[in-house]
Symmetry: C2
């Protein structure tokens, strides 16, 4: 991949003398940027192109070529690739369009390119992509018009996006804001290199401090997980956007768990588990990246707010509460010290020096100094009001801020006040940041706190290759009924009540007598997933007469269902009373694999969507997190004087379900265990549906 | 109030020759801005101040003075005000600090000013305020340092804030963004003129198109309501921020309803009812104001997205879904017409012309023209990618956009692309707007859609002066027990089951016999608000023996409660089964008066805070809105095959509760009716607590 960003030489196949044309722009940008490698324009009809010696073909170039850029019409691309192979070029960008994005013919063309490249160990970027920008080595191999008006400054932010237009929009904003950029790559049709591989590369790229990426489709969830985990291990925040979150056009899914998961929610979970941050707007992405390039990640989520304005201080405290940053009062001892210096200071955090602070020589700095010295808050917000507009006041303050920054390198000093590009550039030299909008400052820092928390409890969710001898599913999985589903889950440690499948009324009565009244009777059929919908469950049967009647009613009702379902009998089970109904589930996401779901029964799931997902395999720690990340879990731990329920067994059940999902990963579509009753002591799986692909 | 913003002449008491000092800055700003009225510096020790003739006292000024600005030390302010009165000046700004914001002495000083001013019909702005800026008449009567570096352009945005520092932060950002400003006022301590009165004035100010306001405290909720309604009637959007939303330090409240309301939630409800928008950040406020000054409010919430980039189009569609704007496909007929012009266009909305669009002469404009002509979408988002960076492509497009804007003045054409101040100024001349960030464009327009919807169903929530002869509370309200509370509510039409207060076990048995079993027994005491907490309610008593036992148990348990509560007996009532438990409540907000609350019983309220509030008096329409604005109301209208419940009676009960709250507004603190059972036919108020102030 290093050949992609740092080639010593590049050939442009389809080079144009017109610097405004697609085939001319990369040469112009490379020349203007001052790329120091060799540039070889390939053009049969010209001796020179934009002042460079041109070659009729790759073969005519003396010596080695590191990378080729193909900008010829799509039908000619294959021949161009063959030329590259003949010249032993291992990295080829295809900027041309007219491939899989267009039609079947284009797709065939693209497949031919991929096959040929793979045979010869050649890596492809594109086709239909916008190319590469690598700022420090001035390799501007793109035709993006964003570069005509805007020149990126070198810095630590790298962009990897699929859509070139999305990338352009993001980095045009970044350049306008004066943010420093390391690398930009747009992967286009991703015939070979995709955004995931770029994230993986950037995670070990010494020039990159923070990775901004946008994903439309993702081919391999586990590769993405690995790339995100690698970035986290390298202390590089990844800020991801997912384009296309609307729920329309989502495929029908058989399980309830799958329907709740939708096509977007799992992406959130994976970001969280693998230590990435999902941004909802380009602006949010850039705000976070801006802070990342200048400041360390916060070591805790406590912040001070020092301000010359009560109003803005309170506003920032409100925002901090909203975004999850703690604004705790400073200690009485520190309060005393501060009041010795600034007697009229208001508040204990926010600390409002008031506009009067001007009367005390370096009063504002002194307060800041005390707060930074005497607290272990990782974050110090500093609201400057109009001071930045007044160089006479601002420059001496800046001197002290710079000193604080150097003295306490692990702290995040975040300034808020009127600021422009020039001001930000000035502060950047001192590794300081400034935001014009107080809310955006707080939101960006809150994201860093979250990233840091996530890094401290990463949950890879990758296949567990060390797991000894998996038990293969031994039943014909396409015909699992409730009884079989429960028996299977019981093998993974889930508590299933004793129950009997009965095919006659008298068998049912015998079973009920053996179990003891009251009992439950349920129809058993692999073809009926939602038996409650037609009265296929009868609860609280008190005696043999009721059991007989229920048997007849159930068989009768089931026979009337559409689709001629296979009726296997009636299940007689003990009637479990009390406990709290929860829902356990598994959803097999086509990209990210099996996910375990947990929620509470009733309106918690139906109305409030109060469920949580976690990647398989679960760990005990993650299972505990999963339980506590639903709001309704308060009901489990002793709500309003009730006794707490058996969380240990619940956790065990989730771990068992995760192990089941691992073993069955090849065929499983989903599992709904609803209800799964959790009692003061013990649990019971009262119904289960297992759905296979 | 017009004298505040448009004085013909102004005297500055405490004028300084030093243009950098507090007393010098207003004069400098007025001179620099070119204020055309007379400026009279008052200074005993100088003949001229900053080149202007100075006067030893107001009395020395020949002729009339419209407004005075007092910038003398606080102890000298009263004498200065006396001078103003002697000179018959009716509008006085007091910029000096050292009043109620400081200590009791300052508060006394302030009260003396207020009394004196009131006696002589003089209006006061401040004290401790930042003053006034009125851009068109160049009246820059402030000492805000924000104006040293930044000069506001005339335009339609007005700012009214309590905190000068908050105001400075907001308008410094506005000026930096090149937004046009009409008026700025900071009200400081609000000894007389407050933000509410400024909103009221700005609502009828012809220079103001949109009002940005920030409120910390509000003295009179109904005045604020009237001001917001006046602005709505004048078609002027009001964008409000509330500073200080954190829940800490909130006063203890007696009712559950009051606890849920908190100190912030009611503000949201009032904004919504009175057609204002509550912004959560200064940036959001300015984004909305920016669109308001250039474009009309949308006539519906449907939008088209025309884009040269698929990725950004999808991102904007995602945002639209998130913020509540409808992105419906264009008609098949229009699709056909568009494809005739641009065969390679992708999608039906977003409409992605792709970057190829350059090959068709004016192709992008033609698509836009068709979409604007052939749809009734009120909103047209246009994503331009890098086109704005290329004048050769952008200027011809701008010509057409300008034509569309004139031809369809009721449509919102919102551009998205790289933009700076210069670009925005260029577009402003054509009444067009541009955002760099796609998400912010969508969010701002969505706020306008919400404002428009709110204007279409305003709910004043003001005291109903036309209501005939209110029944005064006829009981000693401090000693209302459950029975009395229910009887009172029954008079307002709330259904209360027949029930009897019994003081002996045999009375209880007689009552139960008369009602019919099963019955409920509850302790009755005005001193016990939460009787369930100690078992003060016994349900489902099946016979006289159980009633006798329950009576004894209840009396016994109640006697053991702390505080020696007055025990009035035991209430025997029929046991109501079935139906859906709801919660009805009233909360008397100290600022906004009585609010009715509605929610569903159980976890909906406790865990998910799924309740809604509305101002008293309710209308039938608002009562219906209230019911449907809680998520759990789905359970009332036929959830999962269950029958719908009696919404008409529920609505009636809410209206009755509202009428009760009106009559009792002088003494009521709150009401909790929990549960209020709604059945398929009929309702029943099963418990009620009325709490008085």
């Amino acid at each position: 991949m290093n050949h992609l960003f740092n080639p010593d030489s590049v050939a442009i196949i389809g080079a144009s003398s017109d610097p405004g044309k697609l085939g001319g722009r990369p040469i112009r940008f490379l020349l203007e940027a001052g790329y120091e490698g060799a540039i070889y324009p390939i053009n049969k009809r010209a001796d020179t192109v934009q002042g460079l010696k041109a070659y009729p073909s790759l073969a005519d170039i003396p010596g080695k070529v590191d990378q080729a850029i193909i900008i010829v019409p799509a039908p000619a691309a294959l021949a161009a690739l063959q030329e590259c192979i003949a010249k032993n070029i291992k990295m080829v960008q295809i900027l041309s369009s007219g491939f899989s994005e267009e039609n079947a013919e284009g797709l065939a063309r693209q497949q031919a390119l991929v096959e040929l490249a793979a045979q010869h160990g050649v890596r492809l970027l594109g086709p239909n992509c916008l190319g590469i920008v690598s700022v420090r080595n001035r390799y501007f191999a793109t035709f993006s018009t964003a570069l005509e008006a805007l020149t990126p400054q070198p810095g630590g932010i790298s962009f990897a996006t699929q859509s070139g237009a999305f990338g352009s929009c993001a980095y045009a904003q970044a350049i306008q804001r004066g943010l420093g950029i390391a690398r930009i790559v747009a992967t286009g049709n991703e015939a070979d290199i995709d955004v995931t591989e770029c994230i993986d590369f950037l995670a070990s790229d010494p020039q990159t401090r923070v990775i901004c990426a946008a994903i439309e489709g993702c081919r391999d969830g586990n590769r993405l997980r690995r790339a995100l985990l690698k970035a986290a291990a390298a202390n590089k925040p990844v800020i991801l956007m997912k384009v296309g979150t609307s729920e329309t056009g989502q495929q029908a899914v058989a399980t309830h768990t799958g329907a709740i998961a939708g096509n977007d929610r799992i992406f959130d979970v994976v970001c969280q588990e693998c230590g990435a941050w999902r941004a909802m707007s380009i602006e949010e992405m850039l705000d976070i990246a801006y802070v990342c390039t200048q400041l360390p990640l916060p070591t805790n989520d406590r912040a001070s707010i020092t301000t010359v304005s009560g109003g803005i201080g309170v506003l920032m405290a409100d925002d901090a509460e909203r975004f999850g940053i703690t604004i705790a009062p400073v200690s009485p001892d520190l309060q005393r010290k501060i009041h010795e210096v600034v007697p009229f200071l208001v508040g204990v955090n926010p600390l409002d020096t008031t506009a009067q602070i001007g009367v005390i020589e370096k009063g504002f700095q002194k307060v800041l100094d005390l707060v930074i010295q005497d607290t272990d808050y990782a974050i110090h917000f500093v609201y400057l009001a109009q001071i930045p507009c007044d160089p006479g006041r601002f420059l001496p303050l800046l001197e002290d801020l710079t000193r604080f920054r150097k003295q306490y390198p692990e702290r995040l000093i975040v300034l808020v006040g009127p600021s422009d590009e020039r001001m930000r550039a000035l502060l950047e030299q001192q590794d300081l940041v400034i935001f014009s909008d107080p809310g955006r400052a707080v939101r960006a820092v809150a994201a860093l706190c979250a990233i840091k928390r996530r890094w401290q409890s990463l949950h890879p969710g990758l296949p567990n290759t060390s797991r000894p001898g998996k038990s293969k599913p031994d039943e014909d999985s396409r015909t699992l009924n409730e009884l079989q589903a429960k028996r299977l889950l019981a093998r993974y440690g889930l508590a299933v009540p004793a129950e009997t499948l009965c095919t006659t009324a008298s068998e049912a009565v015998d079973a009920a007598d053996a179990i003891g009244y009251p009992v439950v009777a349920k129809i058993v059929s692999p073809d009926i997933l939602h038996k409650s919908d037609f009265g296929g469950v009868q609860l609280n049967l008190q005696n043999c007469g009721q059991v007989e009647a229920a048997f007849a009613a159930l068989m009768n009702a089931a026979a009337k269902q559409d689709g001629n379902p296979l009726i296997q009998g009636v299940l007689i089970a003990p009637m479990i009373k009390g406990g709290i109904e929860t829902i356990l589930g598994v959803h097999h996401d086509p990209i990210f694999g099996s996910m375990v779901m947990f929620g509470l029964g009733g309106v918690a799931v139906e109305l409030y969507n109060d469920v949580a997902f976690a990647s398989v395999p679960l760990t005990a720690e993650r299972a505990e997190q999963l339980i506590h990340s639903v709001r309704a879990s308060k009901l489990l731990t002793g709500w309003r004087g009730q006794k707490a329920v058996d969380l240990e067994q619940l956790k065990g059940a989730l771990l068992g379900l995760s192990a089941f999902a691992e073993d069955w990963s090849d065929v499983l579509e989903g599992v709904d265990i609803n209800p799964f009753v959790v009692m003061e002591s013990g649990t019971a799986c009262l119904d289960a549906v297992i759905s296979v692909r």
